[in-house]
Symmetry: none
Subunit: 210 residues, 4 copies
Amino acid sequence: MSTENLSETQHLFERAEPGVRKAHKRHILSIALDCFDEQGLEATTIEMIRERAASSIGSIYHHFGSKEGLVAALYFAALDDQLALIRPRMQGAARPRQAVDALVQTYLEWVERQPKLARFMLRARHAVAGGPQSETLAERNKERYGELLQWIQDGIRAGEIRRLPSETYASLLIGQSENYCRAWLSGRVKGSPTTYAEVFSEASWRAIAA
Amino acid sequence: MSTENLSETQHLFERAEPGVRKAHKRHILSIALDCFDEQGLEATTIEMIRERAASSIGSIYHHFGSKEGLVAALYFAALDDQLALIRPRMQGAARPRQAVDALVQTYLEWVERQPKLARFMLRARHAVAGGPQSETLAERNKERYGELLQWIQDGIRAGEIRRLPSETYASLLIGQSENYCRAWLSGRVKGSPTTYAEVFSEASWRAIAA
Amino acid sequence: MSTENLSETQHLFERAEPGVRKAHKRHILSIALDCFDEQGLEATTIEMIRERAASSIGSIYHHFGSKEGLVAALYFAALDDQLALIRPRMQGAARPRQAVDALVQTYLEWVERQPKLARFMLRARHAVAGGPQSETLAERNKERYGELLQWIQDGIRAGEIRRLPSETYASLLIGQSENYCRAWLSGRVKGSPTTYAEVFSEASWRAIAA
Amino acid sequence: MSTENLSETQHLFERAEPGVRKAHKRHILSIALDCFDEQGLEATTIEMIRERAASSIGSIYHHFGSKEGLVAALYFAALDDQLALIRPRMQGAARPRQAVDALVQTYLEWVERQPKLARFMLRARHAVAGGPQSETLAERNKERYGELLQWIQDGIRAGEIRRLPSETYASLLIGQSENYCRAWLSGRVKGSPTTYAEVFSEASWRAIAA
DNA sequence: GATGAATGAGCATTCATTCAT
DNA sequence: CATGAATGAATGCTCATTCAT
């Protein structure tokens, strides 16, 4: 159990989810992430988390209600952490091309910095989408997608971006990168995501450029 | 339980895996696919499959050895089915641009025709990659990737395709489409994949075009 | 949550157990009764009571010591409430026949007025009898039974009541009514207990009349 | 663990529920009865039953589905056992008075012979009535009550039985005996039920006699 | 007196797998 | 090849109770 790693991840949760003040709760989230990452979602048991977190079963249930609740809490914390990195960089972009660069580059960066969280998000999306928090998730996604679309609309009006079916933009912008990150996160390719940042942001830009 | 659908899927297994002669074995695979699709991999129990297949526990174990074995058999059958559609179309392509079109178009088509198999493949990859069949899977992927690379090399020599890090080609070619298909398969977008075949094959081509 | 009902029940507790001065304690008893009635004894958790009573776990334990203690307190309060109705009416009876009428009639009346308490008493007897308050319960019962026997002895000497095994009088006097009340309290019969007061007191009288 | 008792009780189950052919299933029922009797319904755990029955958890669930299912199976077996004793005796009664005698006498006899089953029935009625078998229970009761009412109608027409509200007959006939049996089964009175058979059947007869 | 976070023993139930027939 | 009863380790979760504040 590496204490350094724990405090780092815990710090992230603090940033991502400021409501989580209690060190104990953050600690459990951090340990749970390690377990989910090493064992997988289903294979991780509450008992494993309890043991590594040196906590108690009752305490975990007191804070998260259920295993599903723990997964959801972690998922939204990860979502917030990712957004906290990406949003300011995109807002700092003056032109569409820069925005695409910022989006792709920052996404790749985040995955590289937070591989556990990234793996967890890819795995847990389905579980959260099928659980009682599905509505919260839908709202968050709508919000994110809305920002993206707005920015694309501006690009279209400026004649810099092609008019394409709106459902496809997200896939055209992030699909290549996500596909590569999936491969990297599961060890099928070796080059770290940011190594190819140029390649992927160029591809994303070409995909939507007028 | 639609008998038409069952027989169709069973037919697919016959094509994909000619060794599976026994109707009973094919029937079990078909039912298992339905269960995995409706309940998820972990949530599906052998008992569920037994009940819907009107088979017996012993029979299932006789044919597939274990639940993991059943998943693997289904996975490779799906892989074969997909390849059986894609390979001939790509071989019929004269030029790189046509090959990209064929690859993307056929992938989208297959997902649209076989949504259950597609969902299953996306879900089961991890399970198969971590199981005892991981080597077989690696070989198959290497083989597929090799074909792709070969064809790309030719394009590069012909000056039609950009020289890019070889690890990135697969993501650049199929990432956007896969991302969209994931969204469609889980209901997050409505337009069926082939609707946007042009958009995605154009994006893939631009991503790698010289 | 009907405030009227609550205050009424709380009032009862005040009458039955004058020591319970604190409104808060009475409130908890009243809510506990509701929970026990709706969920059953075992199925009711301290947490449920805490929530509905808008109290705290600590407070409940401060007042009642344990769940068992809460059940016992409620049981004895119910016992007192019942006795407070029955005793004066029986003491007002001049002749055995009138005493039987008073006993049966008042029992039926009480059950009809306090169905929750009645259900609770029938359910909780076993729990209290097996708990640390079993002695207190035994004393109370002996006391009650003693009064009854005394009054029957007089009836026997006066030649109005048959001499029967003393263990059987209680069952002969109240068994029919209790059986009907059980059925009514669990919805198996519809006619309210007092509707048949005549029938049951006549039966009780015939059972013991000389 | 008395083997004699076990085989005796198992024999009863065979009589009461002929469908239960499997010795193992009967054995589990028999052990479960012992546990429920000694510990109470809620306090008995599947693990206790498993241990004393020298069976396996899986086997218990294979046969009964759930703890609730085990309780229900035992309840209906007890009901059948009771009916198997009472019904023929009542059918052998020529006149109402004899029928009352048969009913009361046989009920007391059964309780005395099968105290465990009797205690169990008294305790489990509520659980079964609130469970998924509630309908089956309602049908059985309706059937039993129907037979009783029919026989009472005949008595009324013959001028031997008073016309009373039909909802009250059952309580008037069996209430006193049941009340006494409850007391005996929980040790509050000492005289065995059949000792007072005369007293209770006389009381029942007086309660309804014209 | 009041509070509620923390505890952890204990429970019902699940389910992949085995194996005798 | 087919069957399905039997197995039992493992799991998520509950809930009465404690105790520091």
